[in-house]
């Protein structure tokens, strides 16, 4: 008996008991009954606030003034005229692109290392658990771990000096030249495991026959990697990279806790720029306009993500 037929029987028996609803109507309502709690909650917590932030962004003195006046696109103009905004855009892009690229490279390298049968299975499963650990740590803790390690008197400087790679104590997070790189590095450390987990699952899903067939045709390991492994993993790589791009672009706590956007805006990203507008300067209308810009960028990448997911 197929599923819709059984649902029909159930609805029918219920309708007979109730009497006042035709079973066809009831049958159609059942799925909506199940999906409504999450849908309603998300509409309430998502669509309604989005309309509000859009409204705020068109007002002058939102939240702060009782009778905030309509201001049109004035807030957006003010944002676009702010050089710190454009600096944040560039820094956000650098931070995000570097993070996504290195997350992918490290995630793939670890997944490949963990997927070979050259390694003892027990060691492999232990390492698989350990390699994921950075992912479990909250951004605040990642921030202070790296502030400790990258302190001018910290262990990284000591090691680099002992190896004669640097000859003075670098102030990683408080120099305008190094802060954005130190921040990006900490984020790379924190974020590769998602790729590793997904790519490992993907590697295990690739049919062995593909490799055997390629082996018969005389392909070497490098060719197998480029012509089988990478194309087979491509759908996963694209999904995860798009999601990672969107998420990294929005990162707030790590930046806030390591550099706070400084020194002199050198690590300001869109989220810290927006946050400061709202909660340090109480310019909620300007902040809303800035938040709308982040939303629009995110949603345009999300569009590609959903397109891609549906094609799979």
């Amino acid at each position: 008996m197929n599923h819709s037929a059984t649902a029909l029987v159930v609805a029918q028996s219920k309708a007979r008991r109730k009497g006042w609803l035709r079973y066809s109507t009831l049958r159609k309502l059942v799925p909506y009954f199940y999906v409504s709690p999450a849908s309603l909650l998300l509409v309430l917590l998502m669509l309604f606030p989005m309309v509000m932030v859009f409204r705020y962004s068109l007002m002058d003195g939102a939240i702060m003034k009782k009778d905030a006046a309509f201001a049109g696109v004035q807030n957006y103009m003010t944002i676009f005229e702010n050089p710190v905004f454009w600096q944040s855009v560039v820094q956000t892009l650098y931070f995000t692109i570097m993070s996504v690229v290195f997350h992918f490279i490290i995630g793939l390298a670890f997944a490949l290392l963990l997927n070979t049968n050259r390694v003892d299975p027990l060691i492999r499963s232990i390492l698989r658990v350990l390699f994921i650990l950075p992912w479990l740590f909250t951004a605040v803790i990642i921030a202070i771990i790296w502030r400790l390690l990258l302190d001018p008197n910290g262990v990284i400087n000591s090691v680099l000096m002992a190896l004669h790679i640097i000859n003075f104590k670098v102030e990683w997070f408080s120099s305008t030249r190094t802060a954005i790189h130190a921040l990006t590095f900490a984020n790379i450390w924190a974020g590769y495991p998602l790729y590793m987990v997904s790519l490992l699952a993907g590697l295990q899903g690739i049919s062995k026959e593909l490799y055997e067939a390629a082996g018969i045709d005389g392909a070497n390991e490098v060719q197998k990697f480029w012509y089988i492994t990478i194309p087979q993993l491509m759908p996963i790589i694209i999904s995860i990279a798009l999601l990672d791009f969107i998420w990294t672009m929005q990162v707030f706590p790590l930046v806030w806790m390591t550099t706070g956007g400084g020194p002199i805006y050198s690590t300001e990203v869109l989220s810290t720029f927006t946050y400061k507008l709202a909660f340090s300067q109480y310019e909620f209308s300007l902040a809303s306009a800035s938040a709308m810009i982040i939303l629009i960028i995110s949603m345009s990448v999300t569009y590609f993500y959903i397109k891609h997911q549906q094609r799979r």
Partner: protein, 281 residues
């Protein structure tokens, strides 16, 4: 990757182990360093040359935290908020996932796209209207404000993970109940939920992780010390006693402990659930 000519030799195996060793240092060294720093005295933390193991182990930093009711409160708040959010999210997600996995209906695809796209909405965008709403509804600086707003992040993942898991269960399972004249609601709670424990565990761990780690809303929607959660507590500690590194490391160890324990206990379910939910959704 290994060259073909080395295939029969031991070199690829040695290189693989070398790669794994480098990976192990890269992934765990900062965590190990954090742990041992929490057992050092404050003067020893920046000792030259740096040593991983403390000369004299001391749990003084931990004792300071346990003896400070304000800091203990951070942990109680985090456990409470993350616990309540996890329970509420699970109930709503299980019901919704059942609808998605067992029925075809109009707007199903639209709704699915909506839930997927909620994963990618920037928290900072929602923060400003949430702040406005929370103040307007007079729930600023309450647990309720945190619990409600956290659900906007936990629900999409929980629904997607649970739907992914339920899709792997054969429909004959719940159809048996329907054939016997039971309702689908009975089938869900009596049959589907008991066999979905691995999926539910994975979803619960991930939800708890998201709620435990949340920073931005906890920072902005609460104000009083007795409502602050662990991440905010650590941030405040850092602002006030910037030089007490051992105490901050001890806070970090304690703040990561529940997630580490949950993950180590449930990692089998967790990894299976994550890959079922994210890779093949």
């Amino acid at each position: 990757m290994a060259k073909r000519s080395f295939k029969s030799s031991a070199l690829p195996t040695i290189l693989t182990y070398l790669g794994l060793a480098i990976g192990l240092v890269f992934s765990t060294f900062p965590i190990v360093w954090m742990f041992f720093s929490s057992l050092k005295s404050n003067t020893e933390i920046f000792a030259l040359p740096p040593r991983l193991l403390p000369d004299d182990f001391t749990v003084a930093a931990y004792l300071t935290i346990f003896n400070d009711p304000v800091k203990v409160r951070f942990f109680i708040n985090s456990y409470f908020v993350a616990g309540v959010v996890t329970c509420l999210t699970l109930v709503v997600a299980i019901v919704t996932a059942y609808g998605f996995s067992r029925y075809q209906f109009r707007f199903k695809n639209t709704l699915n796209i909506f839930i997927i796209s909620t994963q990618t909405v920037p928290p900072i965008t929602l923060l400003i209207p949430y702040f406005g709403m929370v103040v307007a509804f007079r729930i600023f600086d309450t647990y309720l404000a945190l619990i409600l707003t956290y659900m906007v992040f936990t629900l999409p993942y929980a629904v997607l993970l649970m739907t992914g898991y339920l899709n792997t269960l054969p429909k004959e399972l719940d159809e048996a109940v329907l054939v016997d004249g039971g309702s689908s609601w009975t089938a869900l709670w009596r049959v589907i939920v008991p066999v979905s424990i691995p999926g539910i565990v994975a979803t619960a761990v991930y939800t708890f992780l998201l709620a435990w780690n949340e920073f931005l809303f906890a920072l902005t929607l609460t104000k009083s010390m007795n409502l602050r959660t662990v991440p905010i507590g650590i941030q405040l500690l850092m602002g006030q006693h910037a030089f007490e590194w051992n105490e901050m490391m001890a806070m970090s160890v304690l703040g990561s402990l529940p997630l580490l324990v949950l993950y180590l206990v449930a990692q089998r379910y967790f990894l299976a659930g994550m890959t079922a939910g994210s890779v093949k959704s």
